[in-house]
Symmetry: C2
Subunit: 351 residues, 2 copies
DNA sequence: GTGAAAGCGCTAACAC
DNA sequence: GTGTTAGCGCTTTCAC
């Protein structure tokens, strides 16, 4: 049986109406749901719909005020495991709440970011979720503030996930997780094992997430009365390659350390490989810890001690609060907790 | 300076027109681009636009025939590294080609899948890309064929990525990569090292991707004149946990093998930790290989020998061909090559 | 119950 | 150059 010969490409509600011998309104009504329509007409209409394989144009519905709402998720690069986790949470929750989910990758370009947000505003997205840390500059605040305002004035809402909050009064929701606290706990755990010289493989020095983790590293030292050696905190970015390079350099320079804490698990993965390449054994020769608890962390060898961040939950939460809010609500600030998960990559210092 | 007091939420082109003291068409024209408008009016209009922070409703534009086209990408779970890679490719290429990109996760549920496709058809998506293998059943073909037809008849197009092609004549584009060939080459590489009993950690036995890889495993054996032992091919799924479990069971059952080939890198990762947990060393005690060449493969220890699949390229290609096709073109079939990348997890068999 | 008409926000053809 | 009108595909009064 050949499936329909006419070109449904331009099949409109009127075409269906014509075929069923009724008016467009009637078609709309039977499709719409529970409006009283005689059984006979309903059947005829449904048959026409089926025969023509008709689906109402979602854009037209939207413009008529009955569309499926949309939610936008803009991130740097879906390829990063923690971003992917969040995206998953966002996507699940969005569809659970009956929303369509647009995702855009900015590739870290701020210009792309504002372009995307503008597009989403044009799409009349119910909310746009921005994720991924960055530098907390005046320029950032101004730009982001502007996005927040225009979204808000369009009845939408901006959600900042793991990125610098704006000043007070901005119509945004910010959801963060505790970078400093997590790093503090993690580093404390390392220090307790007797390590005194722990190398920190950090991120970009103006990146707020990196800063938070670095602060935790520092604070944990000071809490135990040890002043961290300046040459032990290195800066790169959050990639695997950065960890690999930094670690190799540290080894070449014969820096003196017995443990290393990486700003992310990716960095830790690179560092681990560098360590292995240098013939060092973890944790026998040196202890290693990461941050994020991406799924792969436990398949590293040794399984990585790290800090768990509830990324997926973060994503879900982001959409839930975004969609639950009244548009012009002022700022709201959620802080999710993190906790260290102890595996095998950190061992007590043996003299 | 306070940003605009009126509620732009319902700010329409007519509002802008009123404020600028012109007609809506004029506003449309200055916004539209290059239509001749006097400098004076243009300025006035632009000022009004700025003051009201106006953006044209993309849905309304779309319905009027000048919208940003949309492209849909539906996958099982963005959290899988290879999916993420493809998504990245798709997303980049889509935005490069001026398309918006919708992504939906089906969580492996076929019902969700058809629902999403229906939605995308309603959205008048220019194309929908379906990725992720599955069982090649009659039900699958029928269902998918139906989706392809209705998409085609709506002027859109279905692209199948790494999943079973339909019969001939279906209006779909299918892009695959060479599972069998890759597995063949990989297993040949293992056999050449002297291994005779190589364990295969496969996927679901009705999953076409898994089947392809298994066929390659088998073929490589036969090509060397060795009949693979039946008890050495195990079935699970493509997750890390599956690899872990299967490996542990194989060890418990004291299966006799000197190398293991996993159907995916994730499976290999799980298997690797199971091996480590059992106190075995790779590749000294047993060799191990994966498939996919996800970024993490080289940070496993030892770095994983695997088959490279150009996932990101696959994604880009998918959108390029999808968008480049005329709607009702019959089937087209692209096969991307794969190649094995030799790292450290496979070693020659020592007697 | 059902149809005609108005309206959603926009663009485009057609005046002037 | 610019305004008026019609029309995109749909929903929703408002009549009958």
């Amino acid at each position: 049986m050949t499936r329909k010969s006419e070109d449904a490409s331009r099949s409109t509600i009127r075409d269906v109406a014509a075929r069923a011998g009724v008016s467009a309104s009637t078609v709309s009504r039977v499709l719409g749901g529970v409006y009283p329509v005689s059984a006979a007409t309903r059947t005829r209409v449904m048959r026409a719909v089926r025969e023509m394989d008709y689906v109402a144009d979602a854009r037209a519905k939207a413009i008529a005020g009955v569309g499926t709402p949309t939610l936008a998720f803009v991130l740097e690069d879906i390829t990063g495991p923690s971003f992917a986790l969040m995206a998953h949470g966002v996507e699940r929750e969005a569809t659970r709440l009956g929303h369509l989910c647009l995702v855009c990758s900015t590739e870290g370009d701020a210009r792309h970011e504002v372009e995307f947000v503008e597009m989403m505003r044009a799409q009349r997205a119910a909310a746009v979720i921005l994720v991924g840390g960055g530098a907390d500059t005046a320029e950032y605040r101004e730009r982001t503030r502007r996005m927040a305002d225009s979204l808000a004035s369009a009845g939408s809402r901006l959600v900042l996930c793991g990125r610098p909050p704006l000043g007070p009064g901005a119509p945004v929701t910010v959801i963060e997780y505790d970078n400093e606290g997590g790093a503090y706990a993690l580093v404390a755990h390392v220090l307790v094992q007797g390590h005194q010289r722990v190398l920190f493989l950090g991120g970009k020095s103006d990146h707020t997430t990196a800063q938070g983790r670095e602060r935790g590293y520092l604070a944990a030292h000071r809490a135990r009365g040890v002043e961290p050696a300046e040459e032990l905190v290195l800066h790169g970015d959050f990639t695997r390659d950065s960890g690999h390079r930094l670690m190799r350099e540290a080894l070449e320079q014969k820096l003196d350390f017995t443990a290393v804490v990486a700003a992310t698990d990716m960095v830790a993965a690179g560092a681990l490989t560098a360590l292995h390449e240098a013939g060092l054994s973890v944790p026998r020769d040196v202890s290693l810890a990461g941050y994020d608890d991406i799924p792969f962390a436990r398949d590293l060898h040794p399984a990585l001690t790290t800090v768990h961040v509830p990324y997926e939950e973060l994503g879900r939460l982001a959409v839930r609060t975004a969609l639950g809010r009244e548009p012009n609500t002022p700022d709201e600030h959620l802080l999710l907790g993190t906790h260290v998960v102890v595996r095998d990559s950190v061992a007590p210092l043996k003299e």
